[in-house]
């Protein structure tokens, strides 16, 4: 086992590499351990879902609170028509992506399953969760590195993304069946949702709340991912672009 700072390179280490002849010190040259975590379908799904969430939240907000009234002939505009079309198109992308992502949980690597459950029966999970909270409370400097998601991230993802996303898909299709009719497949499959949630208007209301939950989640997600990428012992953003996670040190703790 090499010591943590053995990853720092000297001028000699650079000999015979692409950096041959350069000084190691001013370059802060290091050799880091990299692991492949997020496979291509997961990354593709992530960015597709991110884009669809942006479209869904924007158009969804406008469906609830439409822009100022347009003048002129009704036949010369289709503003709300387009807003709703974009919402439904993005919703289909989100829903199909979600279904594909569920399938990939079975087909992909072990990290592809982390989104769909919390290992609440494992003491290690609770320990890790507490450690992460302490890090965010500035009471602890570093925690153990993890290949996939840390316990805090996993918990937030499970509740605020996976469950809320599923709720949005189910209520979304139920509301969509308003337009396609009660005898459509949406009506048959999701017709139970609205009576269960207290009616059509209540379903709209909860669907609207779901949007805010996801918006708040996205804000926190973007912040913590950027922060972790800068401050933690592992890379975050590049893991979701090229799939490889880099550890900044090889310390065992």
């Amino acid at each position: 086992m090499s010591a943590p700072d053995s990853a720092i390179l000297t001028d000699d280490d650079l000999k015979g590499t692409n950096l041959d002849g350069l000084k190691a010190r001013p370059l802060r040259a290091r050799r880091l351990t990299t692991v492949y975590v997020y496979e291509a379908p997961v990354r593709l799904w992530h960015w597709m879902t991110a884009a669809s969430i942006v479209v869904l939240a924007a158009t969804g907000y406008l469906i609830g609170s439409p822009p100022p009234s347009l003048s002129g002939e009704a036949s010369s505009h289709f503003q709300m028509g387009w807003i709703r079309y974009l919402h439904f198109a993005a919703a289909w992308i989100f829903a199909v992506g979600f279904a594909g992502r569920v399938a990939w949980a079975f087909l992909g690597n072990v990290y592809a399953r982390e989104l769909f459950f919390i290992p609440f029966w494992k003491p290690a999970y609770w320990k890790e969760l507490l450690d992460e909270v302490l890090v965010y409370a500035f009471l602890k400097k570093h925690v153990k590195t993890v290949v996939g998601h840390n316990a805090l991230a996993r918990t937030a993802l499970f509740f605020c993304f996976t469950l809320t996303g599923l709720f949005m898909i189910v209520t979304g299709f139920a509301l969509y069946s308003d337009g396609t009719g009660i005898d459509s497949w949406e009506g048959h499959v999701f017709g139970w949702v609205m009576p269960w949630l207290g009616g059509n208007l209540s379903t709209h209301f909860l669907h609207h709340w779901g949007m805010w939950v996801i918006i708040l989640f996205v804000m926190i997600h973007v912040y913590t991912v950027s922060r972790e990428d800068i401050m933690s012992r592992q890379s975050l953003i590049s893991a979701m672009t090229n799939g490889y996670r880099t550890f900044r040190d090889d310390r065992p703790d």
Binding site: R30, Q79, I83, P195
Partner: protein, 359 residues
């Protein structure tokens, strides 16, 4: 009480010509959305079937269902339905009263056990053993249970009987309860609305008489032929909605031009009813046509679903009331500020850090 008279017999006895009778059958077929080939079938049923006894009970209600019913658009429909179904008991409309009236109820229940239709207007309050609604000295819920026990089917007239309506609105002190939560062992047809459209009411009865079966019902027990589409789906102002042209206030240019009432709280997009197709008062108009949004009176619990003049429900408990968007924006702002503060502290911590390669 004429027992075995058919509809046709009664109509002829009342001086309705054969020609008017056939016209009525055609109109009924059209109202039910049936093709012309069903006209002879309706006529045949009217000519041969004995009249179905209907017992019409009134619980906690305002009689708006009856008021609507007696205004069934075509005069012939009114004449026919009021005398054709054997409306043997309806304390609002019948001539007899008191013990005489109650005696008829018992007589029909006994004579036509298992064959009469029970129409319920209003609902029973269950609190204090049903003492909030007394009919003939006894709680209405007892009368309802008694009459329902021998009924072939039950029609829940209006939003009261179907969902509870205003007397069941929060906090519902009398515990007014819709019929289907009290009577659990009979087929129940819900005809919600406050009140339901007259032609929808007569249409449901005519369908049951003609085909001798219940109309096809949706998941909530409403006849599909009248409640399978939203007001919004057939609204003549729908093009303005799709275009993005709304009434912003009731006295603006958009209101004068008949734009979509979505922004002033129209519940058409969330309300299943036939108002935008059948309309009211012989097809004269309906609320949206008169410039006011739909209030969603045929939907479950419409009194408790927020303002009639706003689409987005208020959230109680935040201040007095706030919209989901206000709460969401406030939460977003709070989270944003929290993240900024967290980022600032993180940066300060980081500033003391010398880098991964510090030796």
């Amino acid at each position: 009480m004429a027992v075995l008279e058919t509809f046709y017999d009664v109509m002829r006895r009342q001086g309705i010509t054969r020609r008017s009778f056939v016209k009525y059958c055609s109109l009924t077929a059209a109202a039910l959305g049936l093709g012309p080939e069903f006209v002879p079938q309706i006529a045949h049923a009217m000519e041969t079937k004995p009249r179905t006894p209907v017992l019409w009970l009134h619980g906690l209600e305002c009689t708006c269902c009856s008021e609507s019913f007696i205004r069934a658009a075509h005069p012939l429909v009114k004449d026919v339905i009021l005398s054709m179904i054997s409306l043997d008991y309806d304390d609002t409309l019948m001539a007899s009263a008191g013990h005489q009236a109650e005696a008829i109820l018992d007589e029909v229940m006994e004579k036509y056990h298992g064959n009469y239709i029970l129409a319920v207007e209003g609902n029973p309050p269950l609190n204090e053993d049903g003492m909030y609604c007394i009919i003939g000295g006894k709680p209405f819920v007892e009368q309802l249970r008694r009459v329902a026990s021998g009924a072939k089917a039950i029609i829940s007239w209006g939003s009261c009987a179907s969902y509870g309506c205003v007397q069941a609105a929060r906090p519902n002190p009398t515990q007014a309860t819709p019929v289907h939560k009290v009577i659990l062992d009979k087929p129940i047809i819900k005809v919600p609305g406050c009140p339901p459209i007259a032609e929808v009411m007569t249409g449901v009865i005519t369908y049951m008489q003609t085909f001798d079966r219940l109309p096809e019902l949706d998941r909530q027990g409403r006849p599909k032929m009248f409640y399978s589409q939203r007001i919004h789906d057939k609204c003549y102002r729908r093009p303005h909605f799709d275009a993005g042209q709304y009434v912003e206030a009731f006295d603006d240019e958009g209101a004068r031009k008949g734009y979509c009432l979505y922004k002033v709280g129209c519940k058409g997009p969330t309300t299943y009813n036939a108002c935008s197709t059948v309309r009211w008062n012989d097809g004269v108009s309906f609320p949206i046509q008169s410039g006011h949004g739909c209030i969603g009176c045929s939907e479950d619990g419409f009194w408790d679903k927020g303002s009639w003049y706003a689409r987005l429900q208020d959230v109680s408990g935040f201040g007095i009331e706030a919209s989901a968007d206000k709460v969401g924006l406030a939460a977003g702002g709070a989270v944003g500020a929290g993240l900024a503060a967290h980022a600032a502290i993180s940066a300060l911590t980081r500033a003391r850090y010398k880098g991964d390669d510090a030796q």
